[in-house]
């Protein structure tokens, strides 16, 4: 699959999961010491260019400060989407832009307040996906067993008495 096709495929997979009911999204960032920080991100969406849009409500939250660290010092960011049926996508990327003013920011500000009441919005973060990995257990299990057969416990391969 070419780079362009891959990007389209990423967008399709992410968009499908985000559109599905019951999907839970989390964002993981790194602080200045490299310690990870992971929190839910309830407003996550994709923009028309395929970038992940994360709404950060608090100016001094750890995630906001870590995202700033990502844009300043190119620290990676990771977003995980967990679907209701066990699908898991992990998207690695980097913070590309923080919108703090303008029509798009104001539109998200109104969206946040319409859903949460008296809430604020610190920034609209745009995250550029660089890599996507399907971490759905059933998918990973098939790949693992095919690619790394030496890591299976042997008892799983033993002939079961009831099958004799």
């Amino acid at each position: 699959m070419g780079e362009r096709d891959m990007k389209g495929e990423f967008q399709y997979q992410i968009g499908k999961l985000l559109a599905a009911q019951g999907t839970i999204a989390t964002i993981a960032t790194l602080d200045e010491n490299g310690a990870p920080h992971c929190v839910p991100t309830p407003f996550l969406q994709l923009d028309e260019r395929g970038r992940i849009v994360h709404l950060e409500l608090l100016e001094t939250s750890s995630t906001h400060r870590n995202l700033l660290g990502s844009i300043w010092f190119e620290r990676p960011v990771s977003v995980t989407l967990c679907g209701r049926d066990g699908e898991v996508l992990v998207i690695s990327g980097r913070a590309y832009k923080a919108l703090v003013s303008g029509p798009l920011f104001c539109s998200f500000y109104r969206e946040v307040r319409s859903r949460m009441g008296d809430a604020d919005l610190a920034a609209v973060w745009l995250i550029e996906p660089l890599k996507i990995r399907d971490e759905t257990y059933q998918v990973r299990k098939v790949i693992e067993e095919a690619s790394h057969p030496f890591y299976s416990h042997l008892d799983r391969l033993v002939i079961k008495e009831d099958s004799i």
């Binding site: 400060r65 703090v100 920011f105 104001c106």
Partner: protein, 424 residues
């Protein structure tokens, strides 16, 4: 005219400085350098400017380095939300170029694209006129998240030719009156109404800012300035349901009783009084009006007094950084200038007063306008030093931050100031 070359050229000065300071974000180094060198907008970049969408140069309280009063982008935003407040600069002074790349404005240096930028977005009220028929943007101007009130465009230090040596405010007053039809002194009632109109735009503004030229008159010196600020802040305050609202005022160094009135009678939540240069001899030389009416040591003392009233981390002073090195009276070396400035800033910080700086932009027609500002290295070291003082003395600077002002590289670094909260 286009300056954009798409091929990557040799390493730039910015690259070299960024390599020397790996702990300082490249975007903040870039901002600082753009402020230091200024910008030149190409015809293509100006064609992207749409005053329905973008803020164009408005009140012109201070002049541009190219001396022109023309419609151009008010300023720029970087990808991290950092503002670059900068002025159009003649090409012969080697500014950064704002040109077009793939339909978007970019900063270029020597033909090399450096970073995409956004023009500041236009607020909704910019399209409206006030009750007296003046465009609202000439009464209250905007930054990305701040409402600016410049209510009085004269400074009475100029009455006896004792204006600050880097300031062109009074020259701009005349241009503002003649070219832009901006009133020299604003009516508080009208200001309050324009603020009310601006606040209808949800999610746009997070602070109110006001500053004016000094007004020495009154029963005690500067009483008239204090009275005028109080009248303005009261009218602004009528728009809020809370007594206090996020706000910053840059005023003269007032006496304690004047500060108490400002705090008690208005919604003001922070106080800034610019000492301009942290060196007594240079202060006396370059700020003769401030010297005549208050003096360097008294200015510092009044800043410290203000902490008692406005609170720790809510009082600061500003520097026009670079004038301490300019001309025959400036420091001989950047190392000495830095050591002196940071030592004085530490004296203030240990007493609860923060220091911030703007990159000095030499303006035509001012006594210091013929000199160059300092090196990029100097500004980066100064930004680091002032930020580190805030860390050392646990001094928040929220009221003069990237959101509430945007003109200080040192407070950009303080976006990641420790929070000093109790961990859960």
């Amino acid at each position: 005219m286009s300056f954009a070359l798409r091929k990557k050229a040799a390493e730039t000065d910015l690259d070299r400085v960024a390599a020397r300071y790996p702990d300082v974000p490249r975007l903040i180094i870039l901002k600082t350098d753009v402020q230091r060198r200024g910008v030149f907008y190409t015809d293509g970049a100006l064609e992207l400017l749409d005053d329905a969408l973008h803020q164009t140069t408005g009140t012109h309280i201070f002049g541009a380095r190219d001396g022109k009063t023309a419609v151009r982008p008010e300023s720029l935003l970087l990808r991290d939300g950092t503002s670059i407040i900068t002025t159009p600069t003649p090409l012969e002074d080697a500014p950064y170029i704002v040109d077009v790349l793939d339909g978007e404005p970019w900063l270029f240096d020597n033909g090399v694209p450096v970073e995409p930028v956004d023009y500041w977005p236009a607020p909704a009220y910019y399209a409206k006129n006030s009750r007296s028929g003046v465009p609202m943007k000439h009464i209250v101007s905007a930054r990305p998240q701040r409402l600016n009130i410049f209510p009085y465009r004269y400074c009475t230090f100029w009455n006896n030719d004792k204006g600050c040596a880097f300031c062109d405010m009074v020259v701009q007053l005349k241009k503002g009156r003649d070219i832009l039809k901006i009133p020299a002194k604003l009516d508080p009632l009208e200001v309050g109404e324009v603020i009310g109109e601006a606040l209808k735009e949800q999610g746009r503004f997070s602070t109110i800012f006001l500053t004016s030229g000094s007004i020495t008159s009154g029963v005690r010196p500067f009483d008239d300035e204090v009275d005028y600020f109080i009248a303005l802040l009261k009218e602004v305050g009528k728009n809020f349901r809370t007594k206090k609202y996020p706000s910053q005022m840059i005023g003269t160094a007032f006496e304690k009783e004047q500060l108490q009135r400002l705090y008690a009678e208005t919604g003001l939540t922070s106080y800034t009084s610019d000492i301009e240069v942290l060196d007594e001899n240079l202060f006396n030389r370059y700020c003769p009006g401030k010297t005549e009416w208050i003096g360097y040591k008294e200015w510092k003392r009044r800043l410290v007094d203000a902490v008692e009233i406005f609170g720790y981390g809510r009082v600061n002073t500003g520097l026009v950084a670079g004038i301490e090195l300019a001309g025959p009276h400036g420091c001989d070396s950047e190392d000495i200038a830095l050591e002196r400035t940071l030592s004085e800033a530490e004296d203030l910080a240990r007493q609860g007063v923060s220091t911030v700086f703007i990159v000095w932009s030499p303006r035509p027609g001012t006594p210091l306008g013929i000199y160059k500002n300092a090196s990029l290295d100097y500004y980066i070291r100064l930004a680091r030093g002032l930020h580190q003082l805030r860390v050392k003395y646990r001094l928040p600077i929220d009221h003069d931050s990237y959101r509430n002002c945007g003109n200080h590289p040192d407070t950009d670094l303080s976006r990641v100031l420790p929070l000093w909260e109790n961990e859960i």
